[in-house]
Symmetry: C2
Subunit: 205 residues, 2 copies
């Protein structure tokens, strides 16, 4: 193989293989597609990655990826500046924005507390979060973390740090049976939560 595959292509395949969900076969296919594409994809990618390297930064306020600092959301006069949504990673901001259901500010933790992976509270963007909540006079902290053990642990840890802030409402994204899902095949944990935190219909209708 070494003889036949130039080292540059081997390097590209190796880099792409480190992306989760991309195995070595897919990395090979993608690499060859890019290299043999007729519309000069290699140059296009060099250009776009150079542009990203030069212009993409992390917002020093909320931790979101942006081409401005502070980012567009932190700067926007149209957002509700009394509510702060806490997410694990930048893509979660985009996913939530796509719903159009939320108009407050964000805070990206860049991870969750995970003792198994050696990630402690000081390894993620928590102290800045506490600082912002106080500085901005936030009225509601809204957690939108994945409902797994790391997400719950992280939320519990942060909530414990917020106890001394007065008049602060703390909420979390609803957990329950997904739309299109069904009760019979739900796991017991989800179903238990969905029963315990059942929604009042008269509040929502």
């Amino acid at each position: 193989m070494k003889e036949i595959l130039p080292k540059q292509i081997e390097s590209l395949i190796n880099i792409l293989s480190t992306i989760p969900g991309i195995g070595s076969k897919t990395a090979e296919r993608i690499s060859f597609y890019i290299i043999t594409s007729k519309d000069n994809m290699v140059q296009k990618l060099i250009d776009v990655f150079s542009d990203i390297k030069e212009n993409i930064k992390i917002c020093s306020e909320c931790g979101m990826i942006s081409d401005t600092d502070p980012c567009h959301i932190c700067l926007s006069p149209d957002r509700n500046r009394e509510i702060l949504c806490v997410v694990e990673k930048p893509t979660d901001v985009i996913t939530i924005e796509k719903t159009g259901e939320y108009n407050g500010l964000y805070h990206v933790l860049w991870g969750v507390i995970s003792p198994l992976e050696g990630v402690g509270p000081s390894d993620i963007n928590i102290s800045k979060l506490i600082e912002r909540i106080k500085k901005l006079g936030i009225k509601e902290v809204f957690f939108a973390l994945d409902p797994d053990s790391e997400g719950e642990t992280t939320m519990a840890f942060i909530v414990s740090k917020l106890r001394d802030i007065e008049d602060l409402s703390i909420t979390t994204i609803a957990r329950g049976i997904p739309l299109g899902g069904n009760i019979e095949y739900s796991d017991m944990y989800t179903l238990s939560r969905a029963i315990r935190f059942r929604t009042k219909l008269n509040d929502n209708l």
Copy 2:
């Protein structure tokens, strides 16, 4: 969305989405993984793509991708220079090399004849193939094209051009029931071919 996603990231997602098998959701996930990776993946990709742009060429003999011209295989004194394997694309060379079953030369067509997609015989690397067969004094042309209608059409076209070359053996990769496959669920076309071109066991044992 426009407000939240910097145009550089949007561009990267758009470019990656043009790769077959990568939808917009996957392109988004890959883009964010690369941009937010801790080991400076953006710079690594700029470097490797620049290296590819500068050093990867197409072998002027066989059409394979290589960092030398002629490529390593065309230059190798260890290969059997009397047999030429005809493939559709560079990755097919790599796949065949991985088997370790073949030690001859290659010829990459960079496509197959496909009237539906407007690809005619002059759009792929056929004239150079005929020239090489004559120049190199090839004794066997071995077709390893996909066994679909485009592959068969391409093979039939090339074979018609080889009729006047004397003492040339023309072979094609065996088609039949794949190992681990079963007769009951084989399609009739494959099964018909497997019966018509049944293999003599006494030749192979």
